[in-house]
């Protein structure tokens, strides 16, 4: 099967797959960032139990293979009467993994802030919450644009876990499996999806670089 035949037969399927990948990536990333902020604030809080929980969260979810986590969420949680639809299972898996890495990015961003600025904020009478909100988070966000760009790409690739469960519509990698069970697309079927991933990642890093140049903090 040649490329033109592949695209004329399955082109629409690929397009749907690409859109599904994009939408799952976007939804996941919004929650990845939100959760990463929450976990990071816990990890730098003055309350030890919170710090321990935050560190534990990162250690656990950074060190579980995506597929294993997906299986737990899709097949073990129903034992606890928690039944999520397939798409949600994939998204939750991606969020849990991604936010652990996101928090690590934030921690390295926070380490660039320097204890002096925190002391200055404390000496002005700002509370912990005010310091986090006005001094720490804005700087952590602005110094981690490039690592977060990488994370967004990683999140997109993680949504390929969707190929392991019956999604409808399927995302890109699921489409490849679908095509290859029906026709002999072979390597070509993968190549089309690979181009979609690479193209998207290219655009993401282009935009990421632009944003980084705009918001980078002069030192």
């Amino acid at each position: 099967m040649g490329l033109s035949e592949l695209l004329s037969t399955y082109g629409e399927k690929y397009l749907q797959g690409l859109l599904a990948t994009w939408s799952m990536t976007a939804v996941s990333f919004v929650f990845v960032m939100a959760l990463a902020v929450v976990v990071t604030v816990a990890r730098v809080s003055p309350y030890r139990p919170l710090r321990v929980v935050g560190d534990l969260y990162v250690q656990v979810f950074r060190n579980i293979p995506g597929v294993a986590l997906l299986i737990i969420i899709a097949y073990a949680l129903p034992e606890l009467r928690i039944v999520l639809d397939w798409r949600t299972c994939v998204i939750v898996t991606t969020i849990l993994l991604g936010s652990a890495f996101g928090s690590e990015n934030f921690m390295s961003g926070i380490n660039t802030i320097g204890v002096g600025q925190i002391e200055a904020a404390r000496s002005l009478g700002l509370t912990f919450t005010q310091i986090i909100r006005r001094v720490v988070i804005p700087q952590a966000l602005r110094t981690t644009v490039l690592p977060m760009t990488n994370l967004l790409i990683a999140v997109m690739l993680t949504t390929a876990l969707g190929s392991q469960v019956p999604l409808s519509p399927q995302e890109l990698t699921g489409v490849v499996s679908y095509v290859n069970t029906r026709a002999t697309g072979g390597i070509l079927a993968f190549l089309v999806s690979a181009l979609c991933y690479v193209g998207t990642a290219f655009v993401i890093s282009l935009v990421g670089n632009r944003i980084d140049k705009r918001v980078r903090i002069l030192r």
Partner: protein, 254 residues
């Protein structure tokens, strides 16, 4: 106790009673007692490692102490929490490394405290901030970020940031030690101005000229102890202790 009551009763603005502090085995503050009256300028000098910076930082509890008492206008310095934050907001602090917030304009640096801590509206905070920036001579830099300013300009902006809180007293922790020589005077001039205006100040510094000119009292520290204190002319011309004589000899004559 209100400010007026405190003034009437002659309660010191800042008072340390028998303060002790260790860093592991190192005894950094040994039974330090010091009291600073309203409007008084106390300059703390001494060799490096003498505990003078630590002393300065314990006063708004950036460093905790092991024993003793620290009182601000007769009130004990509270434990970590909201009360402490309030107390800190009443003491200005200027650091060796300026410590301006790197992601904010100079104007935002100065208005952050008044807006967040005192709840001032934006316009009021900015009006006051611009007055203060003009007073320290960096009004033209108000909309730049710290990295675009020279060290001297950054330190003057940092002083304005502290003043914006209308503090009862100002603590200066080696404010000119990180500056290029040609920028030291522009910062000292601002501090002289403040002292003349009646601000209560504790200044940790190596600038002996400033101490002689501005201090009401010079406190000499060595090995975590206050070795001697007195009027600047007495201290510089007739130091009583051998430690102080050695120190003064070591810094002059280049």
């Amino acid at each position: 106790m209100s400010q007026e009551q405190a003034a009437e009763k002659n309660v010191p603005v800042i008072e340390l009673r028998h303060v002790d502090k260790h860093y592991g085995d190192l005894h950094v503050l040994r039974d330090v007692s010091l009291s600073v009256q309203r409007g008084e300028v106390v300059v703390v000098i001494g060799p490096s490692g003498s505990g003078k910076s630590t002393l300065c930082r314990t006063i708004n509890r950036l460093e905790t102490i092991d024993s003793g008492q620290i009182l601000i206008e007769g009130e004990l310095l509270p434990q970590e929490g909201r009360e402490l934050a309030r107390m800190r907001s009443e003491l200005g602090m200027v650091f060796q490394q300026f410590n301006l917030f790197a992601h904010m304009s100079i104007l935002d640096n100065v208005t952050l405290g008044p807006r967040e801590v005192l709840g001032q509206p934006k316009e009021e905070a900015e009006k006051h901030a611009l007055e203060l920036l003009a007073r320290v001579g960096v009004a033209e830099q108000a909309h730049k970020v710290p990295a675009q300013l020279s060290g001297g300009q950054q330190q003057r902006a940092a002083i304005a940031r502290s003043l914006a809180m209308r503090p009862k007293a100002m603590l200066f922790d080696e404010p000119t030690s990180a500056l290029d020589p040609e920028m030291i005077n522009e910062v000292l001039d601002v501090m002289v101005e403040l002292a003349r205006g009646g601000m209560t100040m504790i200044v940790v510094t190596h600038e002996m000229g400033f101490a002689r000119r501005v201090a009401d009292r010079v406190v000499f520290m060595a090995d975590g102890q206050i070795v001697e204190e007195g009027a600047p002319d007495d201290f510089f011309d007739h130091p009583r202790s051998q430690r102080a004589r050695d120190f003064l000899d070591s810094i002059k004559g280049h």
